[in-house]
């Protein structure tokens, strides 16, 4: 199978995945991705027409419950993991100039 990912696709994938595109690593990353995609390409040889996709191994539906509050979350415990949190707010770099 030809290489599925080239540098242009890698730039697009990096953007979609919110990962940095690192030109100095791009050859190594491309080789690694194409090697994995060649491995998974083996599945293209199997005829799966008329087969339904399987999403849940036991084919069960996710259970639903009443839309009611069951958990109380301690904001202090959660916010202590935030890199920058003040006065009940999560801080990010300025978005609007």
């Amino acid at each position: 199978m030809n290489n599925l990912v080239n540098e242009k696709t890698l730039v697009e994938l990096s953007t979609l995945a919110a990962l940095p595109f690192e030109p100095e690593k791009s050859k190594a990353t491309l080789d690694a991705l194409n090697e994995v995609l060649a491995l998974v390409g083996q599945m293209q040889s199997l005829d799966v027409s008329n087969v339904r996709p399987l999403a849940h191994p036991l084919e069960r539906h996710q259970s639903l419950r009443a839309d009611a509050v069951t958990e109380t979350v301690d904001p202090d415990a959660l916010s202590q993991n935030a890199p920058h949190y003040e006065a009940g707010l999560y801080f990010v770099p300025k978005v609007i100039e």
Partner: protein, 486 residues
């Protein structure tokens, strides 16, 4: 009594008979961790003070005659399970400072049953790996030979039990991450039916595959732990609402008449001849115990690795999207703008293997490739499930090797991802089908442990554990310890 490699079952008796106190036992393991873990690197964090405090409370319970099944048993937990107020890293720089705000259901259940947590064990970052070389906290070394990998991703959990640093441990298995390290460290490791144990509080890798399970010295120990880990949890919408049998009862029943399927696709090129010899000898032991061997085929097995390396990365790319450097986790320094914050935080916070899998998953889910990759992989997944459903109409258990080779040297496969991925060639199909599977020690190849994999039908962990226990009554492989007498 030699406490180093005592089984959980023996320790329960010793604690009840007051031959040892929970405090003595906990201190014993903590001393061994201090002495041996600098070599093994099996723990990311050790909670000595909290463990000794819990042991003190356990001793009070023994004095008052108010005990629970696991009271005073020191265990280790894979650092993927959230424990409230404790660092929970998933082996990643991204979470290296993360303090869990709540406790995972399965860890809570073990604590409720009386187990004491000694610490959190090392693992491949976000459970992605088969050698435990992908941890931000450094590689784990195999107690059987510290030059070798312990298997992964639950490599720390396996090494800690194998080295006698705890009585048992918890692991998680997405494509073989309990069974493969159990095989390589000479342990009994069980991946239950998908949904048997709650995933709540267990950091997600691939949600339709992830499953927690016990890692122990014997099938009996694994059965006891499973009883206290399993059960319906309304907080996990994929948790099975099924009764939890007393897995440890019925282990002594004979397996005469048990039909064991020997899957021919598990004995192909790539299987180490010494591993195959051990597996064939193990199958002969089963025959001598009255089981019948049945030649079976799981014809779609050759496609399992390729389907898995689409489905698991696709789910990982979605699950790991939450790490944005804002609400929790690593944030890069001096971001120029929001986009830079996202990209550099993720670029610096994730390791190379994780980033690669995120990119593969993003590719498989992207417009133009979705049908050819993700949808096709999900169709193959159905074929693989059907293989098992068909096989279990004729057999009770399926047996074969857990891994194609024994433990290999650190660094040997690190630069060859495909060879590394093929480590899971025998374990992945049970993960995709969601059936329970375990690995038990079944011999030595070149002086290193070999794992026999036993696969059961949906929710049939009981018969699986019974088959494993009966094998362990007839063989001594599970009682071997690392030769260095660590």
């Amino acid at each position: 009594m030699n406490l180093d490699f005592a089984t959980l079952t023996d320790l329960q008796k010793a604690l009840r008979n007051r031959a040892v106190s929970a405090t003595e036992l906990t201190q014993h393991y903590l001393t061994r961790i201090d002495a041996l873990d600098p070599t093994l690197n099996s723990f990311i964090s050790v909670q000595a003070e909290a463990a000794l405090a819990a042991a003190g409370r356990a001793d009070e319970r023994f004095a008052q005659g108010d005990t629970r099944p696991l009271t005073g048993i020191p265990i280790a937990q894979k650092d993927i399970f959230c424990l409230q107020g404790q660092k929970t890293t998933a082996g990643s720089k991204m979470l290296s400072q993360f303090i869990a705000p709540y406790t995972a259901t399965c860890s809570e259940k073990l604590a409720h049953a009386g187990a004491i947590t000694l610490g959190k064990t090392n693992m491949d970052e976000f459970a992605m790996g088969s050698s435990n070389e992908n941890s931000y906290f450094g590689a784990v070394h195999n107690p059987w030979d510290p030059q070798l990998i312990p298997g992964g991703s639950s490599g720390g959990s396996a090494a800690a039990v194998a080295a006698g640093l705890c009585a048992a441990s918890t692991g998680t298995d997405t494509g073989g991450s309990i069974r493969q390290p159990a095989a390589m460290c000479g342990l009994t490791g069980l991946k239950p039916t998908y949904g048997r144990i709650s995933r709540w509080g267990m950091i997600a890798f691939a949600s339709s595959l992830d499953q927690a399970g016990p890692m122990a010295r014997t099938a009996q120990d694994a059965a006891i732990l499973l009883e206290h880990m399993a059960g319906h949890d309304p907080r996990d919408s994929t948790s099975l609402n099924e009764p939890v049998p007393r897995f440890s009862e019925g282990l002594d029943n004979s397996i005469r008449g048990l039909r064991i399927g020997v899957c021919r696709e598990f004995f192909t090129e790539g299987l180490d001849p010494a591993v195959e010899r051990s597996i064939r000898e193990a199958l002969a032991v089963y025959e001598s115990l009255g089981a019948t061997l049945v030649d079976i085929s799981l014809p779609h097995t050759p496609y399992s690795v390729s389907a898995y390396y689409v489905i698991a990365p696709a789910e990982c790319s979605a699950n790991l999207a939450r790490f944005d450097g804002i609400r929790y986790g690593y944030r890069c320094s001096d971001p120029e703008n929001l986009q830079d914050l996202y990209q550099r935080s993720r670029g610096e916070g994730f390791g190379e293997e994780v980033k690669k899998r995120i990119l593969v998953g993003t590719f498989a889910l992207s417009a133009g490739y979705f049908d050819a990759f993700y949808a096709r992989a999900q169709k193959i997944r159905r074929r693989i499930k059907e293989d098992f459903v068909n096989a279990f109409e004729h057999v009770d258990v399926i047996a074969g090797p857990t891994a194609p080779t024994p433990a290999f040297p650190l660094g040997e496969k690190a630069s060859n991802p495909v060879e590394m991925y093929l480590q899971d060639i025998y374990t992945i199909s049970a993960s995709l089908a969601g059936v329970p599977a375990m690995s038990i020690p079944a011999g030595l190849a070149n002086g290193l442990p070999v794992g026999l994999q036993l696969i059961g039908n949906y929710l049939q962990e009981g018969p699986l554990l019974q088959a494993a226990h009966q094998f362990q009554q007839a063989t001594h492989w599970h009682s071997l310890t690392p030769p260095e007498a660590l």
